[in-house]
């Protein structure tokens, strides 16, 4: 995320589920503050009366002391914890459980890879990476999968996290009340570049989303100009095509992100940097110094090949 630095906080909710969790937190914080203050007050009392045995007014009564332990250590916790249990695990949880399929307007499959995100829209055949578009104020059924190790899909402002476990298809509801960009990131340690495995959820009004979807469904734009044509040739003949897909071309690789419309995306390499000249050039020429351990190899390219590749990729809108 480039411009507009801001917290990506569960306490800044943009969906009913995230708001419920945030409310739950504030209640728990209030209760915790009361318990903590009470315990500190007792310890302070112990310090104030360090010379005198027993309690004020009551004095020394072993039965009363035991009663205190039972009251504070058993009875009050039992009541408070029962309330917490009902509130959190029976009430709030209804909003954060996987949605029933009939209640959602569409399904998106999110697949975690070391260290990027693949997003598939089975109903329209769209495949993209690291930038998840959804219609605003629409309930989306998100299916979380993994292509390799365990990752966790987490957009703190929209909902709780859900792990992406190989062999499992976990589901979660994705819902954004307003149009906007919401940062998501991997929340289960998944290896070297776990820290650089983020994505954006772009929530748009229905019409904007539909036009985005139409654009994504289209095959890649043919290269414009001699340099881009040369870039396409370098892409197809070099190593690139063995790992990336560009629909409408012979590039069919599935190791790295689908690049059919890569130029329309705001960031590169799972939010490692902005998608514009400068970073794109660096990323192609020396990915290992930007994201050490990434599966993207540094390529031996001539200056001309390199420039033409950049020209080609920048045209894939």
């Amino acid at each position: 995320m480039e411009a507009g630095a801001r917290y990506v906080s569960p306490l800044d909710p943009h969906s009913p589920a995230a708001r419920d969790i945030a409310t739950l937190w504030w209640w728990m914080l209030a209760a915790a503050a009361i318990v903590f203050a009470g315990a500190i007050a007792l310890l302070w009392l112990g310090w104030r009366r360090r010379g005198e045995p027993g309690l004020p007014w009551i004095g020394e009564s072993e039965r009363f002391n035991t009663g205190l332990v039972v009251a504070f250590g058993m009875v009050i916790p039992a009541v408070v914890l029962s309330a917490l249990f009902v509130g959190a695990n029976l009430v709030v949880m209804r909003d954060t459980e996987p949605p029933s399929r009939s209640a959602t307007a569409m399904t998106i499959v999110a697949i975690g890879h070391q260290w990027w995100w693949e997003f598939r829209y089975p109903e329209s055949g769209v495949v993209t990476a690291n930038e998840l578009h959804i219609p605003a104020s629409t309930s989306v059924n998100l299916e979380a999968r993994s292509a390799d190790v365990i990752h966790s899909f987490w957009v703190p402002e929209l909902n709780r996290k859900i792990d992406m476990v190989p062999g499992q298809r976990n589901r979660i509801e994705l819902y954004a009340e307003h149009a906007g960009t919401y940062r998501g990131q991997c929340a289960e340690f998944c290896g070297l570049q776990h820290a650089n495995m983020a994505f954006n959820v772009v929530a748009e009004p229905q019409s904007g989303f539909q036009s985005w979807l139409r654009q994504e469904q289209a095959p890649a734009e043919p290269p414009q100009g001699a340099e881009a044509v040369a870039g396409m040739r370098a892409f197809m003949e070099g190593a690139c095509a063995s790992c990336h897909t560009i629909s409408g071309t012979e590039a069919r690789g599935t190791v790295g992100p689908d690049l059919t419309h890569v130029a329309s995306r705001a960031t590169l390499a799972a939010l490692t940097g902005p998608n514009r000249h400068g970073f794109l050039d660096q990323w192609i020429s020396d990915p290992q110094s930007i994201k050490p351990g990434s599966k993207m190899p540094g390529l031996e390219l001539t200056e001309a090949q390199f420039r033409s590749l950049v020209a080609y990729l920048s045209g894939l809108r």
Partner: protein
């Protein structure tokens, strides 16, 4: 100051001195079976690992001091954070509490002359030392494990972690598990069979209840871990597919097995600390613990219920709602026994006449930190909140409040408290208090902001972060806090190290302590007690008539057992005289067994099966040699 020896008993004491005489020099330490010496070995070894884990933590914090730092790369960072966790949990806290405190203090507290199995005790230590070195060989050769301390598969499988790092982890933990299991069994038998006559179960100090609970928890918690590790090594070294999803394996199997061990482990870590707290509080508040039976019961219950909550570490993996709700309920239930103990400590302090000296300060710090860590812990039993905040810095904050605040603070308090007993000298009170406040401030400065970072969306285990996410200032504060924390801990170490040579003589009982260990000289003689004490309450040292009776017994030669290398054995529940046990003498076999076993693990790691087999035979040969003769004759 030794306890008063009546003149007519002098010859008996001299006889005991000669029978129990410890070997001198390095050979004496290598072959020792004395629980106090083994405890001291455990102490310094685990302290060294604490220092190593601390350096790792400082490197981690330095890397995170600001955005996009290059102090260490991702590869090193991942190894550091993994080995930091493994070190602190397996090589520091458990060996320090169970190995050092348990070994040194339990026999003294129950009036025994040694642990039930002195040579098994020695072998536990030597195996622990060798396994710790084994794990660090990995780190120092650049092959440290890097999949985090809970080492989730498939990340930890051969396909995604090809080097030997994970093998160092898996084999190292199995190796150290042998030591811990042996130590736990030893403690259980010692507590059951070697208590002083009259110390029926209900008169046992709460410290012993805590260690009994911990030892049982260890015996039952380690097998699932060992199975998980064994299956992992079958996958990694021999191509099995237990965790291989592509071939019908299951990645969640690892998580279940690991946390069936891992959550009880949390209580294994903090229960000894509770035991230390229940030793220090009565002494410094000059009154008996409030609600003693409830606290004893709570210690046992915590260890027991701890086995039924493991899946709360897995609420985000997509378990069914029914499963998560069950485990959330169980996790809430365990709050109750913790609440009982907490308010028993607080009520004892409030109703007593506390002396706010260094050991009690650490315990009060512990209480405050444990409340904070407990409160944030309870929040994780709220499933949606757990699913939102798990794997963020909020969790890192929570478990450091529990592990550092609730486990390490009492250990540090305990070091001050028993320092006079172990060394015969007093520490420096002023520096003791300074060290507490430095550590307390550093601890909170390091870990409190982590709650906020988690709520600001920072995941744990990120080796770097962008400057545009609002995380910079809090991270910088935490790193400064970590240095302050290190300064506090170094002050503790310096205070104790200087006091070892310059401290004022402490005498046998500088605190008017409540338990038996304060009745013997400081440091205690190798045989601990010239007379096997007779006990009539959990506060044996406060029963003056009983202790006077010990001195009379010494004069009359009653219960002195000076005919051989002997201690008393009593019945399990009522602690009635059972028999006199002939205790084994020093031996070379324990370190030899540990070294041979090291060969087994090293060659498994190198996949040199023949050599591993040879070392396994050597290990059995050493165990055979050990048992060739009755240990008393060796």
């Amino acid at each position: 100051m030794a306890i008063a020896i009546p003149p007519e008993a002098r010859s008996r004491v001299e006889r005991l001195e000669s029978i129990w005489k410890e070997g001198s020099g390095i050979v004496g330490w290598l072959t020792t079976v004395d629980h106090k010496r083994i405890g001291i070995l455990y102490f310094f070894t685990s302290l060294a690992f604490f220092a190593a884990g601390g350096v790792e933590a400082l490197l981690i914090r330095t890397q995170l001091i600001g955005p996009n730092q290059g102090v260490v790369g991702p590869q090193t960072f991942d190894q550091l954070m993994t080995v930091h966790g493994v070190t602190m949990i397996f090589l520091f806290v458990v060996p320090m509490s169970v190995g050092a405190f348990g070994n040194y203090l339990l026999p003294l507290m129950i009036g025994a002359r040694d642990m039930a199995f002195p040579r098994m005790n020695a072998v536990s230590y030597w195996i622990y030392l060798c396994s710790g070195i084994f794990i660090y060989v990995g780190l120092f050769t650049g092959n440290g494990p890097s999949a985090g301390w809970f080492n989730y598969v498939p990340l930890a499988s051969r396909a995604y972690s090809p080097g030997p790092g994970i093998d160092f982890y898996a084999l190292g933990l199995m190796f150290t598990g042998i030591s811990t299991t042996a130590a736990a069994i030893n403690i259980i038998v010692t507590i059951f069979k070697l208590r002083a006559p009259g110390m029926s179960i209900n008169r046992m100090p709460l410290f012993c209840f805590a260690f009994l609970a911990v030892s049982f928890a260890l015996v039952f918690a380690l097998p699932p871990l060992n199975i998980a590790l064994f299956l992992l090594e079958l996958d990694r070294l021999l191509g099995f597919h237990f965790y291989d999803v592509g071939l019908g394996g299951n990645a969640i199997l690892w998580q279940n097995l690991f946390w069936i061990f891992g959550h009880p482990e949390v209580y294994i870590i903090i229960l000894p600390a509770f035991g230390i707290a229940t030793s220090i509080i009565p002494t410094f508040t000059r009154r008996r613990m409030v609600a003693f039976p409830l606290v004893a019961l709570a210690e046992i219950l915590v260890a027991f219920i701890g086995f039924g909550v493991w899946a709360h570490h897995m609420f985000a993996v997509g378990l069914s709602s029914v499963t998560t709700i069950y485990f959330a309920a169980a996790s809430l239930v365990i709050v109750i026994p913790s609440g009982i103990q907490l308010f028993a400590w607080i009520t004892t302090i409030v109703t007593g006449t506390p002396r706010f000296q260094t050991p009690l300060l650490w315990i009060i710090g512990f209480i405050v930190l444990f409340i904070l860590g407990g409160l944030s812990g309870v929040m994780f039993a709220a499933i949606p909140f757990d699913q939102q905040l798990t794997d963020t810095y909020f969790v890192v904050a929570h478990f450091h409040y529990v592990i550092f605040g609730a486990a390490v603070f009492p250990l540090l308090g305990g070091m001050y408290y028993w320092f006079p007993k172990v060394t015969g000298r007093m520490y420096h009170e002023g520096w003791g208090k300074t060290s507490f406040w430095l550590t307390f401030a550093g601890m909170n400065l390091t870990f409190f902001p982590m709650h906020i970072l988690g709520l600001a969306g920072m995941p744990r285990r990120d080796y770097t972060y962008g400057g545009d996410l609002g995380w910079t200032a809090l991270n910088a504060i935490e790193t400064i806090g970590a240095y302050l924390l290190a300064a506090g801990l170094l002050t503790v170490a310096a205070n104790l190290a200087v006091s070892l040579f310059r401290g004022a003589p402490a005498g046998a009982d500088p605190w008017q302590g409540d338990t038996l260990e304060w009745s013997t000289s400081s440091p205690p003689p190798p045989y601990n007690y010239a007379v096997i004490p007779t006990v009539t309450s959990p506060y044996a040292m406060w029963d003056r008539e009983d202790r006077d009776a010990d001195v009379r017994n010494l004069a009359e030669g009653e219960k002195t057992l000076e005919q051989g290398h002997e201690t008393a054995s009593t019945s399990v529940v009522d602690a009635e005289w059972d028999e006199i046990l002939e205790m084994p003498s020093r031996s070379w076999w324990p370190p030899v067994v540990a070294v041979a076993l090291s060969g087994v693990f090293a060659f498994i790691l190198l996949q040199r099966w023949l050599a591993a087999g040879i070392f396994l035979l050597l290990t059995f040969a050493a165990i055979g040699g050990w048992h060739w003769k009755e240990p008393q004759e060796a």
